[in-house]
């Protein structure tokens, strides 16, 4: 029987969503054109050449190395692209993804990337054509709600702030806006430089849908212990206690 990785314990909706994020088995909710994703990232103009940091691997004459023979390079590494980044800020008001789960998704599912997790934002670095593909996957999938998540290269705060009146995550640089038609539009790239046109990102999730898809345990949503008043805690807490116990004992008694 083929082995199926068990990514995260628990039977709560948040536990199930966390497993989905880690496994990469995500629902696709929208299709934002690649050129638009490239424009929002702001590293190169759509259609422009990729800047490179070394010649393509085929031209370089690599040393005879067994690891290099086993591992197929990513498209970006093979072409010698520069390393670029995309950084996300997800609201704590039931955004579908949270920094750790974007990182788990990146580390498990994206080859040749370097995820970095911070308290209110999450960055992934990779070769340029790879990070563009990974960013598009994040934008298109249920990891992202266009109102509660946005790409922010700088001035990232918004994660732990109250939402705006229209349900958007607060952004000091106003990189996205809610249109009169109910769609969210990107008006600036991730560092706040205005785009030459507004990019339609689609409709945001309703509050109920965001709560259904979230990976955030919250006492006013799904608490980590599972159903309040239940005889037994959810498996997520049991597993956490187990890990804490082993780590503490290992830390205190290395024998």
């Amino acid at each position: 029987m083929a082995y199926t990785p068990q990514y995260y314990p628990g039977s709560t909706t948040v536990g199930i969503n966390r497993r989905k994020h880690m496994s990469g088995n995500l629902e696709k909710l929208r299709d934002i054109p690649e050129a638009d994703v490239v424009a929002i990232m702001g590293h190169r103009a759509p259609g422009a050449d990729y800047s490179s940091t070394h010649p393509p691997l085929k031209e370089m004459g690599e040393p005879d190395c067994p690891i290099r023979q086993i591992v197929t390079p990513t498209a970006g590494a093979a072409a010698g692209d520069r390393v670029r980044y995309s950084q996300w800020t997800d609201s704590m008001y039931f955004a579908p993804s949270i920094p750790y789960w974007r990182s788990y998704w990146g580390a498990i599912n994206c080859k040749g990337c370097d995820p970095g997790t911070l308290s209110g934002r999450q960055i992934i670095e990779a070769r340029e054509r790879d990070i563009e593909a990974y960013t598009k996957k994040q934008y298109d999938s249920e990891m992202t709600d266009v109102a509660l998540c946005s790409m922010r290269g700088c001035t990232v705060h918004g994660h732990s702030l109250r939402l705006e009146e229209n349900g958007m995550q607060f952004d000091m640089l106003s990189r996205t806006e809610m249109g009169k038609d109910g769609n969210v539009y990107a008006t600036k790239d991730q560092v706040g430089i205005p785009l030459d046109r507004k990019i339609n990102l689609g409709k945001p999730m309703t509050e109920a849908e965001a709560k259904k898809r979230t990976t955030i345990f919250r006492v006013d949503g799904v608490p980590m212990c599972g159903k309040v008043g239940a005889r037994k805690y959810d498996e997520a807490v049991d597993a956490l206690h187990h890990m804490w116990e082993l780590r503490s004992k290992w830390g205190y008694r290395p024998e």
């Binding site: 290269g153 700088c154 001035t155 109250r162 229209n166 640089l173 106003s174 706040g192 205005p194």
Partner: protein, 167 residues
């Protein structure tokens, strides 16, 4: 047991569940103003810079944050922050119920209204560094200690003064 005086001034903090757009902020402040009894009032929230403050886009104008004019009690002034919290001192207890009703009337979502002590009464070192000896103690607690001296807005019964240079 000490009975609280109902003629002493009270301090109130209003925290809406969402950040307010300028139009809603104007509606709320006017409702508070019409309720009367205000000794002093302060609005607080995240800064809305006029230009991108750092990063590769540094210095790029943010048009959305410019000219956020609101009119309160017949006086117009420019918002520098996203309104997220209003603190005020009322002349007496009798204005409190009216204030609660005014907030509920003006805001389409829930709001927390707390009574407490929100303004300090003695001049701090920061106050001294900014103003020297403070003559009018009503100004104490109205100012973000980290704000630059040229970014102060004081709303008074007589007039609204604002001195905000672009950064």
């Amino acid at each position: 047991m000490v009975t609280e005086s109902d003629t002493a001034s009270i301090e109130v903090e209003i925290v809406p569940n969402r950040f307010l757009m300028p139009a809603t902020a104007q509606k709320l402040l006017n409702a508070i103003y019409e309720n009367g009894g205000i000794i002093r009032i302060m609005i607080q929230g995240p800064n809305l810079p006029r230009n991108v403050p750092y990063g590769p886009g540094r210095g790029t104008p943010i048009e959305e944050n410019r000219d956020l004019l609101i009119e309160v009690g017949g006086q117009a002034f420019e918002l520098c922050v996203k309104v997220g919290r209003v603190r005020l001192e009322l002349e007496s207890e009798k204005y409190f119920d009216g204030l609660k009703a005014a907030c509920e009337r003006a805001l389409p979502f829930s709001v927390h209204i707390k009574r407490g002590k929100f303004f300090h009464t003695r001049s701090t070192i920061t106050d001294y560094a900014k103003f020297g000896k403070v003559e009018d103690t009503r100004v104490l607690g109205l100012i973000d200690p980290k704000a630059k001296k040229d970014r102060l807005a004081v709303l008074s019964e007589e007039r609204v003064t604002i001195d905000d240079e672009e950064r």
